[in-house]
Amino acid sequence: MHEVSIAQSLIELIRRYVPAHCRLLRATVRIGPMHALEPEAMRLAWTIATTEVGWAGAKLDIESPPWRLRCAACGRCWAPGRVDEACTCGCTNVEIMGGDEFQLDSIEVDTPVVPDRQKRVTSNRTRLHNTETGARHEHQSSNC
């Protein structure tokens, strides 16, 4: 059940890329059969992991590229059903060209929202603006 660890690692990585005050909506990963990931187990692990960090409802798109082999004898390239498939020429000396993908391709985030704490700060600044200077208020607004 390494899906749980992988989902947690994925979330940790995604946190580096989600801008402040944004929320993750979707992540797209490309995972080849080499990593023996079970998509349904991965989605369950993802649901738990995203909920824990406040991104409940974020979608996970899993692209599953197939194994890709190349025959050492005739050079034929193909996507086999099984990685230990022999070439149609009879040769069993095949090179594994693909299937080990393990990549976070992209994420989708919503537009920034102002968190409550900052709203309160802004609100205080607005009051300051009313009684003091306008520059300060403008500066705070640009942060939002």
């Binding site: 059940m1 390494h2 660890s5 992988i6 690692s9 994925l10 940790e12 990585l13 890329y17 944004c22 909506l25 990963v29 995972i31 080499m34 990593h35 023996a36 990685v83 230990d84 022999a86 069993t92 000396n93 095949v94 594994i96 080990d100 393990f102 990549q103 976070l104 391709d105 992209s106 994420i107 989708e108 985030v109 919503d110 537009t111």
Partner: protein
Amino acid sequence: MSTKVPIVENVLKINDEMALQNHQLFQNAGVFVVDLIGAPGAGKTALLELTLRRLWNTVNIGVIVGDPATCRDGDRLARHSDHIVQVNTGSGCHLDANQVRHAMDKLALKDLDILIIENVGNLICPVSFNLGQHCKIGMFSVSEGDDKAAKHPNLVISADLLILNKIDLLPYIPFDLEHFRQDVRHLNRTAPLLEVSVAKDQAAEWIDWLTTKVQQSNNT
């Protein structure tokens, strides 16, 4: 409104970053490190007991041993070496680079020539997690059946060395050795396949492989 952010990074990038740091620490300490992966009961701990017995007076060997629970394997190995760290992973089915880092902190790496990381008994999950090792070893045994290499291609493909243990059981268990060899060769043409019987103390090829690797490592 939403924004798409292209990334293109390895899913386990954070683990890989930690593994790279581990590897650097291993290099600095001059210690050769292997990650030993096999099913529960394949004979991983027994192989390490044999290794520690054979090499105790020629090289300094440390072991980080991962298990979901108990210190039983750690206790077994501690009879042969002072450099043993047991890691309990709870429900975790593999060791990751961070767990190895914490375990490394309990070892005097500079005193070691070899560090063997005995991963949690599992043929799937440990394969994806780089620990910073120099070599990855996949271990099978006759009692598991002759189809296990074919059923776990990710381990066979990524291994630098493959070991088949318990060959003394071949006369008693339906195990097509030639079929097993073909499966292994089909998936990995470069990694040596060592056929050993730890119970019968027949593992000379393994000891040769390990000592040769350490010598090569010292020379570079």
